[in-house]
C-alpha cells in the first residue's frame, strides 16, 4: 500500500490561512485513502502524551506522542557524549506546533509506528529517524508543510530498512547544513529491495561545503523515488532508486539507477579512452 499524494495546493492555501492542518488517518493509510483533512484553530493538536519508560538511556513510548514530549525525551536521554535515544512504538503525531530539540537525537520506529507531522516548526540538532534497531515492519512517514531547521553542525538522516517503508513529504522546508540523507533501501535483510520516497514540492537545503549534501535513495531493486518539483539546494545531490523520476522546472529527470549506471559507464569508457 502506498500513501496517496494529497493535493498540495489545498495544503498551501489552508496552511497559509493558519486554519488547516493535515491529520493523518489513525491507521496505516491506504493508497486510495487520502489523509483526513480537518479544520482546526491555532495551537497544538497533540494527542495524549504518556510518559516514557527509560532504560539504558533509551526512552520508549508505547502510545503515540507529540513533538513536545519527544523533545523532552531526547533531552532526558542525551548525555554530553551521546545523543538522545527514543523508541516510538506507536509513532509520532503532531500538528501546528513549534519545538526546539536542543540535543542530537535518534528516533526508532518499530513495526507499524508511523510519523505524521503537519504544519510544525522544528529547530534541532542532528536528527536521525530509523528502524534498524527495532522490530521489522513497515513504517510510513508523512510530513506536511513543515519547517525543519538544523543548527550549523546538524544533519538530518531518515533511514528505514523494510521493503514497504514509505516517506512522503508535501511542501515544507528542511534546512540542515551538514546534509539531508533519506535512505529507504529495504535492506534490513539481504538482498535489499523496495522503499518508497515521494516528494511533492518540498525544499531541501544542505549548503555546508564540507557537508554530505542531499542524498535520497531507495533500493536499486524495486525501490521507488518520485519527485514533483522539489528544490534541492546543496553542492552535492544524489537521488536514485530502481524507479526514479524527478520533475524539476517542468522537466522530467530520469534518475533510475540503471540510467545513471549506463550514463556513468559511457563516461567511464570516455575516461579510459583519454590516456
Amino acid at each position: 500500500m502506498r500513501w496517496k499524494l494529497t493535493i498540495a495546493a489545498g495544503v498551501a492555501v489552508l496552511a497559509a490561512t493558519g486554519f488547516g492542518v493535515y491529520r493523518a488517518a489513525p491507521s496505516r493509510p491506504s493508497i486510495d485513502e487520502p489523509p483526513v483533512f480537518v479544520a482546526a484553530g491555532h495551537g497544538r493538536s497533540t494527542p495524549h502524551d504518556p510518559g516514557p519508560s527509560i532504560a539504558n538511556g533509551i526512552a520508549t513510548f508505547r502510545k503515540p506522542v507529540g513533538l513536545a514530549t519527544l523533545t523532552a525525551a531526547c533531552s532526558a536521554t542525551a548525555t554530553e557524549s551521546r545523543a538522545g535515544a527514543v523508541i516510538l512504538e506507536r509513532g509520532l503525531v503532531d500538528a501546528n506546533t513549534t519545538v526546539t530539540i536542543n540535543v542530537p537525537c535518534a528516533l526508532q520506529l518499530p513495526r507499524g509506528a508511523n510519523v505524521v507531522l503537519s504544519n510544525v516548526r522544528v529547530t534541532s540538532k542532528t536528527l536521525n529517524i530509523g528502524d534498524a534497531g527495532v522490530s521489522a515492519g513497515d513504517n510510513v512517514i508523512t510530513v506536511n508543510n513543515s519547517r525543519f531547521t538544523g543548527s550549523a553542525d546538524a544533519g538530518l538522516l531518515v533511514e528505514l530498512t523494510d521493503p514497504k517503508d514509505n516517506l512522503t513529504v508535501n511542501l515544507g522546508t528542511f534546512t540542515y547544513p551538514l546534509g539531508v540523507s533519506v535512505q529507504l533501501r529495504g535492506d534490513r535483510t539481504a538482498p535489499d529491495h523496495g522503499g518508497s520516497v515521494i516528494l511533492n514540492r518540498p525544499t531541501f537545503v544542505a549548503k555546508s561545503p564540507d557537508g554530505a549534501g542531499i542524498a535520497i535513495s531507495t533500493s536499486t531493486s524495486r525501490g521507488n523515488v518520485v519527485g514533483n518539483e522539489p528544490v534541492l539546494d546543496a553542492p552535492r545531490v544524489a537521488v536514485t532508486g530502481d524507479r526514479c523520476t524527478v520533475t524539476m522546472k517542468h522537466k522530467k529527470i530520469d534518475c533510475r539507477a540503471a540510467t545513471l549506471g549506463a550514463d556513468l559507464k559511457r563516461q567511464a569508457a570516455q575516461a579510459n579512452a583519454e590516456r
Binding site: 535489499d192 544524489a238 575516461a271
Partner: protein
C-alpha cells in the same frame, strides 16, 4: 701539560688495548716517542664496522635562537675552564655536552666529567673507529641557571675530568632563545662517531637558499678529538661540500693541548667563520683550520640541500660532532647510505582494512595501530633485499608527502618523511600514492559529486569532468613528488609507480546462482572514471621521469567488492547503500557517530586483502626491469 706525561699516557693507554697494539708499542724504542694523536691504525673495514652508524641528527632546534659552542680539556685536578658566550637578554633553551675519551685506549668512561661540580651523564655512548668512546648528554639543567642570570658576554664554568689522561676533552653546545635574532634559525647537532674512512650527510633546508638575503646563514662547526697538528703534523680530516673541497686541515688540538688526553677542537667561540685560504693544503699548525666553516661559497641560489662529506685520511682522528647553524632552517639531516628498497604510499601499502585500523599517526609509523589482516605488498617484495623500509601511511596524500618532505618532518608523529626515505633508496622505490588526493575512497562524496549534475544539466552528468578537474588539481603535487624521486633514480634505484585499481565489481553477486545479484554499474563506473583520471596524471608524469609503471586495473578486474572472489576487504558495491555513510549518522543505540559512519565505509572498503596485496606484489615484480 709536560710532554713526559703525554708519553706515559700513550704507553699506559697501549697497555689497555689488544695484544697487537701492545706489541707494537712495546717494540717502539723509548727514544722514538710516539706522535700524539696516533695509535695502531685499524683496517679500514674494521674502522667502518666500529662506527658504521656515523653521525646522527640528535638535536634540531628552531626559532629565534643563537648558539654558543666551545670545547675544553682538563689536564689537572682543578679542571679546565670552559668559556661560553651569552648574548644580551638571551635565555638557555637547551644545552648539550659531548665527551670524547682518549683514542686507542679502548676504555669506557666510568666516572663522569663534572661541570661546576655537577656530573655530566654518560649518555649516548658510542664506540669510535679509533678504540675510544664518545658520550652526549643534555646539560640544560647544569648550565641554564648560571647562564640565564649572567650578564651578556663570556661566562665561565669549571670542567673536571676525573681521569684527565683518559679523556681528550668536552664540547659544549648551548642554544639560546635570543631576542636579538629576528628570523628563524636552526641549530642542528649531529653526534656519533664518523667513520675515519669517511662519511656523508645531507642537510635539507626548509626553503631554497637565497645567497643575496642578508639573513642567509650556512655555518658548520666540527668537533674533533684525538687530532694533533703541532709542527705541521699531518693528522687532519677533509671536508667536501657539494662535491667541492672545503678544507684539508680540519682537526688539531685548538681547544686543548698538544698531548694525548687533551686533543680537542671545535669550531665556535674564538673562531672565525672564514674558511681556510687553500682548501687543498694540509695543516701547518693546529689553527691552520679552526673547524668553523661558512658553507655559502659552496651552494647556489635555490639549493635546498647541502651535502657534506668528511674523511680522515690518517685514520686516527675522531669526528664526534657537527653543528649546523642555518637560515634557511634545517628540516632534516640524513646520514650514511640509504636502504636498498623503500616503499612509500598510502593505506594500500599498510595491509590494514577499515575496521582493523585504529588511526593514530603519532603512535604508529603506518598511521594505524593494530595488526594488519593482510601482508602488505612491500613486505612480500622486501625479502629480495638486504635492507628494506616500508613507510606508507594510512590516508596519506601526495600533498602531505611533499609538504612533510619540505618541512623535514611529518606533520604528525616523529617519523621521517617518506619521500626523504625514498630519496636514499639504492635499488628500488615503490610508490602507491594519489588515491587520497583525489578523495577516492570517499564513496558518498563521489556519489553526490557524480550524480548532482543531472539536477542542473538534466542527464548531462559530468562525473568525468569532476574527476578530471580533481586529478589535474593534484598534478603540481605529483610533479613535486616525482622530482624528489629523481634523487633515488640518481642513486641507481628503479622507481616503480603503482597505478590504482577499481576496487568495485560491476555486480554484487548474491544468492544461489547469483539470482539475488544487484547491478553495481553506478559505483563501478564512478570508480572507473576516478581511477582513469588519477592514473592518467600519474602515468603522464612518471613517463617524463622514465619511471616504471605497474598497472593494477587488469589484475583486479572481476575481483572488486561485491564479487565472490574479491581482492579487497569490502563486500558491497551497490551505490545506494553508500549514501548512508554520513557523519551525522548517530547509530543505534547512539554512542559514537564515527563508528556508525565507519560501519558503512567498511562495506565499501577498497583496501586490498591478502589476495589483493599478493596481486600488487606480483604486478610490481613483473614490472621491475630485469
Amino acid at each position: 701539560m709536560p710532554a713526559t706525561r703525554l708519553r706515559r699516557g700513550k704507553l699506559l693507554s697501549a697497555g689497555l688495548v689488544g695484544i697487537c697494539v701492545v706489541g707494537a708499542l712495546v717494540a717502539t724504542p723509548a727514544a722514538a716517542e710516539p706522535t700524539p694523536g696516533t695509535g695502531t691504525r685499524p683496517a679500514a673495514a674494521a674502522a667502518r664496522a666500529a662506527a658504521s652508524n656515523g653521525l646522527q641528527l640528535k638535536v634540531n632546534e628552531r626559532g629565534r635562537i643563537s648558539r654558543s659552542v666551545a670545547a675544553v680539556a682538563s689536564d689537572t685536578a682543578a679542571g679546565g675552564t670552559l668559556t661560553l658566550r651569552k648574548p644580551a637578554g638571551a635565555t638557555v633553551r637547551r644545552a648539550y655536552a659531548a665527551v670524547a675519551t682518549t683514542g686507542f685506549r679502548g676504555t669506557r668512561l666510568v666516572e663522569p666529567v663534572t661541570v661546576d661540580g655537577e656530573p655530566i651523564a654518560l649518555d649516548n655512548e658510542v664506540a669510535t673507529g679509533i678504540s675510544s668512546f664518545n658520550y652526549l648528554a643534555d646539560v640544560t639543567g647544569l648550565l641554564k641557571s648560571k647562564l640565564d642570570s649572567a650578564a651578556a658576554g663570556p661566562v665561565t664554568f669549571s670542567v673536571v675530568e676525573p681521569q684527565p689522561d683518559a679523556v681528550d676533552g668536552e664540547i659544549f653546545v648551548v642554544v639560546f632563545d635570543d631576542p636579538a635574532v629576528t628570523v628563524d634559525l636552526t641549530v642542528s647537532l649531529l653526534y656519533g662517531a664518523l667513520s675515519p674512512t669517511g662519511d656523508e650527510y645531507q642537510v635539507e633546508l626548509a626553503t631554497p637558499i637565497n645567497r643575496g638575503d642578508r639573513n642567509t646563514r650556512l655555518e658548520m662547526s666540527l668537533g674533533i678529538s684525538f687530532s694533533y697538528q703541532s709542527a705541521g703534523t699531518q693528522q687532519f680530516s677533509t671536508v667536501d661540500v657539494n662535491g667541492q673541497r672545503l678544507t684539508s686541515a680540519a682537526g688539531g688540538e685548538d681547544d686543548g693541548a698538544d698531548h694525548d688526553g687533551a686533543l680537542i677542537t671545535v669550531g665556535g667561540e674564538g673562531d672565525a667563520a672564514a674558511n681556510p685560504a687553500d682548501a687543498q693544503t694540509g695543516p701547518s699548525e693546529p689553527r691552520s683550520d679552526d673547524e668553523l666553516y661558512d658553507l655559502l661559497p659552496f651552494v647556489d641560489d635555490s639549493d635546498r640541500r647541502v651535502t657534506v662529506r668528511t674523511a680522515n685520511p690518517s685514520l686516527d682522528d675522531n669526528i664526534l660532532l657537527a653543528v649546523f647553524t642555518m637560515n634557511p632552517p634545517v628540516t632534516g639531516i640524513t646520514t650514511g647510505a640509504g636502504p636498498d628498497y623503500v616503499a612509500i604510499g598510502d593505506s594500500t601499502t599498510t595491509g590494514f582494512s577499515i575496521p582493523t585500523c585504529r588511526e593514530d599517526r603519532e603512535e604508529s609509523a603506518f598511521g594505524c595501530v593494530g595488526t594488519p589482516p593482510a601482508t602488505p605488498y612491500p613486505d612480500r617484495i622486501a625479502g629480495g633485499f638486504d635492507d628494506a623500509n616500508r613507510v606508507g601511511i594510512w590516508g596519506y596524500t601526495i600533498r602531505e608527502a611533499v609538504r612533510d618532505a619540505d618541512n623535514g618532518r611529518n606533520a604528525k608523529g616523529p617519523w621521517r618523511p617518506q619521500l626523504l626515505e625514498a630519496e636514499e633508496a639504492r635499488q628500488l622505490v615503490t610508490v602507491s600514492l594519489g588515491a587520497n588526493d583525489i578523495r577516492f575512497s570517499d564513496v558518498p562524496f563521489w556519489l553526490r559529486e557524480c550524480l548532482a549534475r543531472q539536477f542542473t544539466t538534466l542527464l548531462r552528468s559530468t562525473c568525468n569532468e569532476a574527476a578530471k578537474t580533481r586529478a589535474e588539481a593534484m598534478r603540481p603535487d605529483v610533479v613535486k613528488m616525482m622530482n624528489r624521486l629523481d634523487k633515488a633514480r640518481s642513486n641507481g634505484a628503479e622507481v616503480v609507480i603503482l597505478l590504482y585499481y577499481n576496487p568495485y565489481h560491476i555486480r554484487k553477486e548474491a544468492g544461489p546462482f547469483n539470482l539475488a545479484s544487484r547491478d553495481c554499474s553506478v559505483l563501478w563506473a564512478m570508480a572507473e572514471i576516478i581511477i582513469a583520471n588519477l592514473n592518467r596524471v600519474l602515468r603522464q608524469e612518471a613517463e617524463k621521469h622514465e619511471f616504471t609503471l605497474a598497472p593494477l586495473s587488469q589484475a583486479f578486474s572481476g575481483h572488486g567488492a561485491g564479487a565472490r572472489d574479491s581482492y579487497v576487504f569490502g563486500s558491497d558495491c551497490d551505490a545506494a547503500g553508500a549514501a548512508s555513510a554520513v557523519k551525522f549518522n548517530l547509530g543505534w543505540p547512539p554512542v559514537n557517530t564515527g563508528d556508525s559512519e565507519k560501519e558503512i565505509h567498511k562495506r565499501f572498503d577498497p583496501h586490498p586483502n591478502g589476495k589483493g596485496t599478493q596481486t600488487q606484489a606480483n604486478q610490481v615484480t613483473t614490472a621491475v626491469k630485469p
